[in-house]
Structure formats: C-alpha cells, structure tokens
C-alpha cells in the first residue's frame, strides 16, 4: 500500500466529515426529496432532486474543508508536518479528498434512498446519471473552494463565513438574475425544476458543461492553494489548464435558454388521460394517480361559473409554449407538495377570473380587489383555504406599507364572505350580468353584492 493511501486513510479518520456525517446524510435526504404527489414518481424529477442535494451539502463540506485547510497551523504543527517526507501539495490533496469522501458518502446514502424509492414507484421516464454525477462534481468544487479559502484566510471565523458565502453566492446568482444567462453558472440552475418534467424530460440538460465548469473551478482552487504554499510549474500548469477548461465550459453555459421552436421540437409525445367532473379534465398519463383529485378541485372551482362567457369548458395539464392549446382549454398543473390542492384551486380561479383570456400567453395582469374577493370565495366554497400557503390572490398595488397590505387583505376576505352569503340564484344572476366587467377589472369591492 502506498504512502498516499495510508495518509488518506489517516486523514479520513481525522476528518471533521466523520463527525458530521449523520447531519450530512439528513441534509442529503432532505435536499434530494422531489415534490411529486403521492402515486407519482418521475425519473427526471428524482434525478434533478438528488443532484440538488449538493447545493445544500456543498457549503457544509466547503466549511469543513476550510476548517481542515488550516488545521496544522491552528494546532501549531505546521512546521512539524512540513518535515514529513511527502510533498505539501500531496498532503493538501489528501486532506481535501478525505473531507470530500465523507460528503460523497452522505450524498450517495441520501440519494440512494430516493433512487430506490423511484425504482420501486416510477411512473415515467429514465434516470439521468449525468445530473446525479454533476452533484458529486459540485461537491468537489465546493470542497476545493472552501479549502482554498481556509488556506488563504486561516481564522476561526473562516469556516462558517465560507459556508454562508458558498450558499448565498450561487443561490443569489441564480435567484436574482432572472433573464440573465449568468445564472446558468450556478449549480442551482442545472437542478432548476423548470428544466425537467413529463413534457420534455430533462431539457435542456446542462449537466456535462456544468460539471466541466465546476471541475475547472475545483482545479483552479486547488492549484491556487498549492501556489500559495509553494510556487511550482506543475501547480501553475494545473491552474492554467483548469482556467481554460472552466472558461470554455462557462462560455457553453452562458447562453440564452432555447426558444419555443426548440422546445416544441423537444416535446415528448403522449396521449392524455381524462375524466369529467363538471368539465373534462386531462393530465399526462404519469399523473393518472392524481387525476380524480385534480378533477374534483377543478370542477369544484368552476361549478358556480361554468357556462359564463370566457370560462373554460375543459382543463388540461399542458404547456402552451409547445403548441397552440385547444380552444376553450384551461391550462393546469397537477398539485404537488409545493403547489398543493389549494394552490391548484387558486390557480384555476385566478386564470378564470383575473388571468385575462385563459388561453393568453405571458404573465396575467395584476388582479383587482374585487377579482380577488370572488377568487377567494371560489376556493373557500370547496373547503380549501386560499391563505394556507400564502398563495392567496392579492392585488400588487393599492398599498405601500405592510399594515396597508394587511388592511386590504382583510377587506377582500370580508367581501368574499359577503359574496358567499348571497343566495345562489341571486349570485348567478349577478355573475351573468357582471362577469364580463369583473374579468375586465372594472369592478371594485363595493360593486360586489
């Protein structure tokens, strides 16, 4: 057995990763959960969710690597260790690899649970190994960046601040740069839910260029750390090589998302499964398990307004950017853990009352207070609570402070309750007379009965 292998074994046993393994497994399990409803298990969603666990584990292991990077200095052993007959760069790589090994173990253990569950329950698709491997590469990159930071700034405060930076910087680069292709450099982007689903699988799949970009980042960080320790041609060459790989793959990532034409070409054909509850409701066959519940919610919301001009006579799980939707069809997304049945009900009510023409593309205009009152009534009448997840309809104007926002919220709730107390025949007559003006946003709260 080589000296390097022995040293790796020793470092692995000394690593902070061993102490925090249970917490990391828990985080990997939590981060790797996907949000499909019961009875639906989709491979693209599971693959991306397993990879997404790396954005949660990464900052922790980055902090652990930063902690390990200045361990010898912290214990005032750096000069003693320097006398070892083993290169300093080799020692650094061993410490980094030992720390990373524990994170990879946690990632594999956490992901294995979701993988096995999906093998058992999968209703659609195939696993995307490239996404899951990209998660491991992301961990290596996080650990290398943390190790570099720990080498550069040896302080007891470095590790926690590195962890926060490693979480915030990629997270914010992704979240706050809507419309900018810079966000694709963040590992969060490759695991973004908008990139996968039953309509197109994992698309566009940037796992390979992202992995290369992250490998370049990892190589540059490790080489940078080695150069801080001692200038050498080999470390310089690795730094240059990593930068070349990183820049080349970053340029492949930093590009606009493919347009609707390409999206249409990538659409995977399917035959929807349908049922009727007030109106026909259709979903992708992978979502058959939730069809009845979805139809109950859609039918329940539309029941008092069905037949009025502009109200859809059919609902389908569909993405209108792929092809023109059928006439009079309301586009729905089946509920899931994030977007529960209350969210589905609110979405149906919103698209019908305040979303303009149901078939129109783009963002709907801001709802008026009167529209919100009717929408909330439609959701509450089927026993759901529009405020339960903070998805309640709310105008985006008409208030400046939090208190004004709360006051308007209460007024809308009161108007919704008043509207619900009106006799059904009287309410229907009012709707038939005023529905067009309500949808056009011409009515105010006092105009409601």
């Amino acid at each position: 057995m080589t000296r390097g292998w022995w040293l790796l074994r020793i470092e692995t046993r000394r690593s902070l990763g061993m102490w925090i393994l249970p917490a990391m497994v828990l985080l990997a399990w939590y981060g790797g959960r996907e949000r499909s409803p019961d009875g639906v298990a989709l491979w693209p969603d599971t693959s991306a969710a397993i990879g997404r666990a790396s954005v949660l584990l990464g900052p922790i292991i980055g902090a652990a690597a930063a902690w390990a990077a200045y361990r010898d200095r912290r214990r005032r052993m750096d000069e003693l260790v320097a006398t070892m007959p083993f290169s300093g760069i080799g020692r650094d790589l061993t410490v980094w690899a030992a720390t990373l090994a524990w994170a990879c173990l946690a990632y594999v253990l956490g992901g294995a649970y979701h993988f096995v569950m999906t093998v058992r329950d999968a209703t659609w698709g195939e696993p995307s190994l490239s996404l899951m491997v990209a998660g491991i590469v992301a961990l290596a990159s996080y650990a290398a960046l943390g190790f570099f930071a720990g080498t550069l700034l040896p302080s007891v405060f470095t590790a926690p601040l590195v962890a926060i930076a490693l979480y915030l910087v990629p997270g914010m680069a992704f979240s706050l740069n809507h419309g900018s292709s810079i966000r694709h450099l963040s590992p969060w982007s490759a695991f973004d839910p908008s990139r996968y689903g039953v309509l197109h699988g994992v698309w566009p799949n940037d796992a390979v260029p992202l992995s290369l970009w992250l490998l370049g980042l990892a190589g540059a960080s490790l080489a940078g750390g080695a150069l801080l320790r001692r200038r050498s041609v080999a470390a310089g060459a690795v730094l240059v090589g990593s930068l070349v790989i990183g820049v080349a793959s970053a340029s492949a990532l930093v590009r606009p998302m493919p347009g609707p034409e390409a999206a249409r070409a990538a659409l995977i054909p399917y035959e929807p499964t349908c049922t009727t509850n007030v109106v026909p409701v259709c979903v992708h066959p992978a979502y058959s398990a939730v069809l009845d519940r979805t139809a109950t919610v859609v039918g329940g919301v539309l029941e008092p307004i069905v037949g009025l001009p502009g109200v859809a006579d059919r609902a389908e799980q569909y993405a209108y950017i792929y092809r023109p939707p059928p006439e009079g069809t309301l586009i729905i997304n089946p509920y899931n853990e994030f977007n529960g049945v209350d969210h589905l009900a609110q979405a149906v009510a919103g698209a019908t009352i305040s979303g303009g023409e149901p078939l129109a593309g783009g963002l709907p205009p801001s709802p008026t207070a009167a529209q919100c009152a009717v929408e909330r009534w439609l959701v509450r009448r089927i026993g759901l609570e529009p405020n339960s997840r903070g998805v309640s309809c709310m105008p985006s104007t008409g208030y400046e402070t939090f208190l004004e926002y709360e006051q308007l919220n209460v007024e809308i709730d009161e108007a919704a309750a008043r509207f619900g107390d009106v006799a059904p025949s009287q309410r229907r007559a009012w709707l038939e007379q005023n529905f067009f003006r309500l949808r056009a946003g011409e009515l105010t709260l006092p105009d409601l009965p």
């Binding site: 000394r14 985080l27 915030l168 903070g390 939090f402 208190l403």
Partner: protein
C-alpha cells in the same frame, strides 16, 4: 476589570463585534440594493443573523481549559456578560441595518432569528466545542431557507419547523427561538463549552 478585559480578549470579543458589524453592513447594502421588494429581503433576514450567531458561537471557544476553571472568580458571570454583550451589540447592529428595509417586521424577524441561531450555536458549542459551534445553526438555517420561500404573494408558507422563515408576527416561531436562546445561553453559562479537542478534527 483587567480580568474581564482579558476574558473578553480571549473570546475574540472585538472580532466578534466587528464581524457582526460587517454582517450588518452587508444587510444594509442588501436592503439598499433591493428597495420596494419585501420578498427579496429573505436571504438577508436569514443569513445576516445566521452569520452573526455563528460568530457568537465561535467566540465561546475557551483557549485555557482547566486552568481557567481553577479561577476563584465566578466564570458563569463572565460567560453571561460575554454572551450577552456580543448578542446585544449584534442585535443593535442588525436592527439599525434594517431600519430602511421595506418591511415593518424586519427588526422582529432579525432579532428572532439571531436569538434562535445563537441558541443553536451555544448548544452545538456545548457538544462539539466553541470552534465548531457554527455547524448546527448553519445546517439548520440552510435547510430552513430551502424549505420555505416568502409568506407573501407568490410564495408559499413554510412548515412550522422552519421558524426562521416565518413572519415576524408568528408567536410560535418567536417562542421557539427565545426558548432555544435561553436553553443554549443557560447551558453554556452554567457548564461552559466542550473543551475536548477530540471533536475538533
């Protein structure tokens, strides 16, 4: 007085307050960069107190071990003064930084999150030692942030366990945070942190 000064120096009191100040500056800049959008403030509402709490936790590290415990001066009083001082100053800094934020409950959320994370950091220091006190609040804070978006329009309400993501008016999360702070502070003040180097990697 000299003893108090030496104790605070050994506990990185100065760097801890400076770190809190830097965190506060970051929060102020964040709020200034995103005026008029209360939902974009969530990263600052969670991570500024998280960073300040991690710094507080790390500052509980005891460099002297048993030697310190032979002191005739009551250590609990020194620990309480140190923790209370860092917590109070960091609270003041964060509340001041949030004065211009477009959220009326921002100071409450910041104080609650600082209290809860500081309590978690102290509990972690009790088990793993002061230098690793950041582990528990960090892991919990990131999981809670991932679990919940904002409670305003366009978001969803996070589960109750993710108390750092609840609005400032939520009494249950405030109760959880204050209880965690009291238990954490109480434990560290009474028993000190784990001084075994075994767990320090």
């Amino acid at each position: 007085m000299n003893l108090v000064s030496l104790y605070l120096q050994a506990r990185f009191f100065g760097p801890a307050v400076v770190g809190g100040g830097v965190t506060g500056c970051f929060g102020w800049i964040w709020g200034w960069r995103h005026p008029g959008d209360p939902t974009v403030l969530w990263p600052a509402l969670v991570f500024c107190p998280l960073a300040a709490a991690c710094i507080l936790g790390v500052s509980t590290y005891s460099p002297f071990g048993e030697i310190e415990r032979t002191s005739s001066y009551p250590l609990a009083l020194l620990r309480l003064g140190h923790l209370g001082g860092v917590f109070g100053l960091n609270s003041l800094i964060l509340v001041t930084a949030s004065a211009s934020w477009p959220r009326s409950d921002a100071p409450l959320v910041l104080l609650r999150n600082l209290a809860g994370f500081a309590g978690l950091a102290c509990l972690c220091a009790l088990v793993l030692g002061g230098r690793l006190a950041w582990l528990l609040p960090l892991a919990f804070g990131m999981a809670a942030y991932l679990a919940g978006g904002s409670n305003e329009e366009g978001g969803w309400r996070p589960a109750q366990w993710a108390w750092p993501m609840q609005s400032g008016a939520d009494p249950v999360s405030a109760l959880i945070a204050v209880s965690t702070l009291l238990v954490g502070f109480g434990a560290v003040v009474l028993f000190g942190v784990n001084e075994s180097r075994e767990a320090e990697g």
